[in-house]
Symmetry: C2
């Protein structure tokens, strides 16, 4: 058996900690080179390349002109942020999916403070020190908390002309509560925790426009030079490649065994697939679902190769969900119990460190967190790259 892994980046990214890379962790601590991870798996070839088409009839993945033939195909091409058919907002309101996104958002946030320090125009001051996060899911909540702490703590005494603590951080959510996928009590807790950090939480508020100076909502404008998009995702174009049925978010509709209808050799998993729970509800686009799907597909393929009976259907086992709200606070929702506050935060840290790939990264992240916890300092605060 031979395995070919095609990816357009050379690293495996631990996305749940990506938001931390906007101000705290170094990219190298939350990502590992794919080749290094699979080094000792001698039957596996890693190809750096971007899949551009899939020839289902002839069983081949196309990377531009190059054809890679397959017997069994697993598509796990993920999702990108979606702008409700307003792709032009992306330049003003970047989202967070790749390491370069995190570096870009870090640069924008830090440059906003730098420009405010340099500016003598009071209105511009206010716009530069205002940050709007669009979307109140786990990413939005985590980003809002991280920016609030950056402003109130890490940067608080670094400037002479401005007071970073006066920064305005607004979290805009169109639905009636933040963390909509969590039990209501935890949403309430998260909102209060954000407000304690000085974040304005605006529920039931839909953004109808983004521009370089802010966002437009039903009751008017929120002026801000920095906007971060955490309001929704669209699947990779796998459905188009496959000519498959997709849902409104572009996800490929797959069967109970995660294969494409009529193509038992094509599996689609993760954020790019629409799989159903045992109860018939769509499974959410979160890491535990993707990981369990990956493990299931591996078992099916291994069984097929060995000529043994394969497990007939995928069953998602919900272990729980967690989200942090800045330093020292988090919410956690498990089957049997819920947690919020400091204990939830400790558990969150423990779980996320354990899931990191590589012993070195685990140590590095723990050290960085410990350092940040004791000193309120943030590690990676460098402005790098060019403005786009």
């Amino acid at each position: 058996m031979h395995v070919t892994l095609i990816d357009h980046g050379n690293y495996h990214l631990f996305q749940p900690l990506l938001y931390q890379s906007t101000a705290g962790l170094s990219p190298a601590d939350i990502a590992s080179p794919i080749r290094a991870i699979l080094r000792n798996q001698r039957n596996t070839t890693v190809l750096l390349g971007k899949a551009t088409r899939i020839d289902v009839a002839d069983k081949a993945v196309l990377i531009d002109e190059k054809r890679v033939a397959y017997d069994q195909l697993v598509i796990a091409t993920g999702a990108r942020h979606a702008y409700f058919n307003h792709q032009e907002w992306e330049q003003f309101a970047p989202g967070l999916k790749k390491i370069d996104d995190a570096t870009d958002i870090r640069r924008r946030i830090l440059l906003a403070f730098e420009r405010a320090e340099n500016s003598s125009d009071r209105n511009e001051h206010q716009r530069l020190l205002s940050f709007v996060i669009v979307g109140g899911g786990p990413t939005g909540v985590e980003m809002a908390g991280a920016i609030a702490e950056l402003a109130r703590r890490a940067l608080s005494t670094d400037f002479r002309n401005i007071d970073p603590r006066s920064a305005r951080i607004v979290l805009v959510e169109s639905g009636p509560r933040v963390l909509a996928s969590f039990p209501e009590a935890l949403s309430v807790f998260a909102k209060r925790a954000l407000e304690k950090l000085g974040v304005e939480v605006r529920l039931g508020t839909r953004v109808s426009r983004c521009d370089p100076e802010g966002v437009v909502v039903a009751y008017g404008r929120i002026e801000a030079r920095t906007i971060i998009w955490a309001a929704g995702v669209v699947a990779s174009p796998a459905a188009t490649w496959l000519g498959a049925v997709k849902d409104h978010a572009g996800r490929v509709v797959v069967g109970r065994d995660l294969t494409l209808d009529g193509h038992p050799e094509v599996f689609v998993i993760g954020d790019t697939a629409l799989a159903l729970s045992a109860g018939g509800k769509p499974l959410p686009g979160i890491a535990p679902v993707a990981k369990q799907e990956g493990a299931y597909v591996a078992r099916v393929i291994a069984a097929r190769v060995r000529g043994r009976p394969a497990p007939a259907r995928f069953r998602y086992r919900h272990l729980g969900a967690m989200a942090t709200i800045g330093r020292k606070s988090a919410v956690a929702d498990f089957d049997k119990f819920r947690l919020s506050g400091f204990v939830a935060w400790l558990l969150w840290g423990l779980v996320h460190v354990c899931y990191l790939v590589g012993f070195r990264n685990r140590i590095a992240v723990m050290l960085d967190w410990f350092w940040a916890y004791v000193t309120f300092e943030r590690g990676a605060r460098l402005i790098t790259g060019h403005e786009t």
Copy 2:
């Protein structure tokens, strides 16, 4: 007394370890935010901005239209790589001065291996697996050693179609020996150590052309897709700003007290100044010179402000020089003794960790080195950013 620090980046970079950031260390570990370093120095304002002109008559630094007045001015604007009047070579042969340079070079090196893995053209294979380093000073020697070890060790079993150990690494030096500023015995040692790592060292070889497929030297072409420039620097345009006398490398000629002739309130230090030793010889563009100059100027200004007599002239105290040749080997040249090999390497590591700014960075770098030493793994091996 009030101090204003103007810099076009938001970080202080420990340049002697920058080459390690091409494959080993994370940028955040060798750089610290300037604001954080000076946080508790309440009489100091940090301005993010690029000086564009100096009005010596009216005593002001200009950042585009903005004027920053001064009583005493210290210029320490450093140097960039120089291409012997062939600035167009820069796109093919990037040099190493800033963090973004290191990320760019890292991307080029790693992508060369990736492309070779994907290519079926044998000539292109060879070009992609060939690396030319132009310049045999400490940076060139360190880069050549680092690439050799990346190819022979860290990446050695990561690919399936290519053998990274077959990579060709050529160090081209126009002079008769590498590390020309070191005693000859250490140059000989360094050359042999490089050759043991599999680096071809070409002495007395001048590059007359760089293009996307290699370099041209007296006896022909060396084909290589990756070229790294370590062959010389030119000072920042401070001499032009000041209308001052400069040498062939653009350095401002300063007096024994490091001030500009006729302007005792203008100091020029570091790589952008041409200062003379007690014996009348130009001081080299190395970190110890710059650091001692900085300390001297601080003493002079402090004395002036207090109305006390200032030390009349700067005296450079040469403490020694060091260069590494990959893992486990280095050369060190001190007044009373010389070292080469493993012990020199241990000393090199110790000295460089001590000079890093910030306790956190020291711990992080030591951990990374320890990890790399034990496992032969390299930490930061991510391809990020966009191709230019």
